[in-house]
């Protein structure tokens, strides 16, 4: 089965950039969400989503809360999660690790870095 990404970011610009980057590295199947709550709704309604790329800082429901919600969700707790964020401090990265993200990308990123992290995740799951 091919990969279907859920791209979660409150910035429309960033969602487009992530989507364009995914296309440039050969992935065409993705859906989008503007925050963690919408992401959960999409994950609940679309069982074909099998990879989550999420921002951290979002209103209402953050990326970190989304990671924790997914990891405690019975059906989707094993879904790979890549955090793509401006937060590059050590304590931030450790907090994301503690919440069990599969990998971490600091903005600004290149499509090559995105591909590298996706490949690493796919090789480890």
């Amino acid at each position: 089965m091919g990969l279907k990404f859920l791209v979660v970011d409150d910035s429309v610009t960033m969602r487009r950039i992530v989507a364009n980057s995914l296309k440039s590295i050969g992935y065409d199947s993705f859906v989008e969400a503007g925050d963690g709550r919408e992401a959960i709704t999409k994950l609940d309604s679309d069982g074909s989503i099998n990879f989550v790329i999420t921002d951290w800082n979002m209103p209402e429901f953050t990326g970190l809360e989304l990671v924790k919600a997914i990891r405690s969700h019975e059906r989707i707790n094993n879904i790979p999660i890549l955090m793509v964020t401006t937060r590059g401090l050590k304590e931030d990265i450790l907090e994301a690790l503690q919440a069990k993200v599969n990998n971490y990308v600091v903005k600004p990123f290149t499509p090559q870095v995105l591909k590298e992290k996706i490949d690493q995740i796919l090789a480890s799951v």
């Binding site: 800082n57 979002m58 401006t86 990265i93 503690q98």
Partner: protein, 253 residues
């Protein structure tokens, strides 16, 4: 004896009264200075009060302007992305056309070679025809165009990466906005205490937009050196070798 005693008491009281008047004479100028000082300071305090009120009432406008900047840059970034997407579509079309051209040149060369083999008696005519068609030159031009297109694609990709600055500056501006609104709340509270404002929150504060602290990263920075990514990679690699307990321990340090 009683009269003498009474008179002594009267004199003593008069002495006390005199001392009081002497003290009064000394203290009155001090009171006068205090009154003069109060006279001077009250308008000054009123000015300070008005100034704080004016500054506080301007803050929602400043906050709105910051929000407008964020909105405008998001629109502009989106327009640039539209152009980059359109360029990418055009580049794909040009690349496909170039592939067709190269295939065409290949077929022409094959046909020409077959023609040359079949019409050997024509001697020099074949070579002359082949040279006049300039297939090699045209093919080299196609290869050159192909490399230019790859460069344009690479430049487009770099533009897209640079456009991530919009998200980063939006978070920085949101952080500044949050700071401005915090100052406004403090000033509004001060005005409330001074009795100038009847409500603790000035009108317009809410119109500046409620900012959730979770929606921005005050430390966001546009850094393309890769130092933060290197740190993330390092911690991720370490975590693969570590247990969850060790990660938790790292986190609590």
């Amino acid at each position: 004896m009683d009269n003498q005693s009474n008179m002594e008491q009267v004199f003593q009281k008069l002495g006390d009264l005199k001392q009081f008047f002497v003290f009064g004479q000394k203290i009155v100028p001090v009171f006068q200075k205090i009154i003069d000082f109060m006279h001077d300071i009250v308008p000054l305090l009123e000015n300070v009060n008005n100034s704080i009120h004016d500054s506080t009432s301007k803050i929602p406008k400043a906050a709105n302007q910051i929000n407008n900047v964020t909105y405008a840059t998001e629109i502009a970034t989106s327009e640039i992305l539209d152009i980059v997407d359109s360029m990418a579509t055009d580049m794909t079309r040009i690349k496909n056309e170039l592939i067709d051209l190269r295939n065409g040149f290949f077929n022409q060369r094959v046909a020409l070679d077959r023609f040359g083999d079949e019409l050997k008696p024509l001697n020099g005519t074949y070579d002359s025809l082949k040279s006049s068609l300039c297939i090699d030159d045209l093919e080299n031009k196609v290869i050159s165009l192909d490399s230019i297109i790859r460069k344009i694609e690479n430049d487009s990709s770099n533009i897209t990466i640079s456009l991530q600055v919009q998200d980063i500056t939006a978070q920085q501006l949101a952080s500044v906005n949050h700071l401005i609104q915090s100052v406004q709340k403090r000033l509004a509270s001060l005005l409330f205490d001074l009795g100038k404002q009847t409500e603790a929150v000035l009108p317009g504060l809410e119109s500046a937009g409620h900012l959730d602290e979770r929606s921005f990263n005050e430390n966001a920075e546009y850094d393309r050196t890769g130092k933060h990514q290197a740190l993330a990679d390092n911690l991720m690699n370490s975590s693969k070798k570590a247990s969850q307990e060790e990660i938790d321990k790292l986190f609590t340090k």
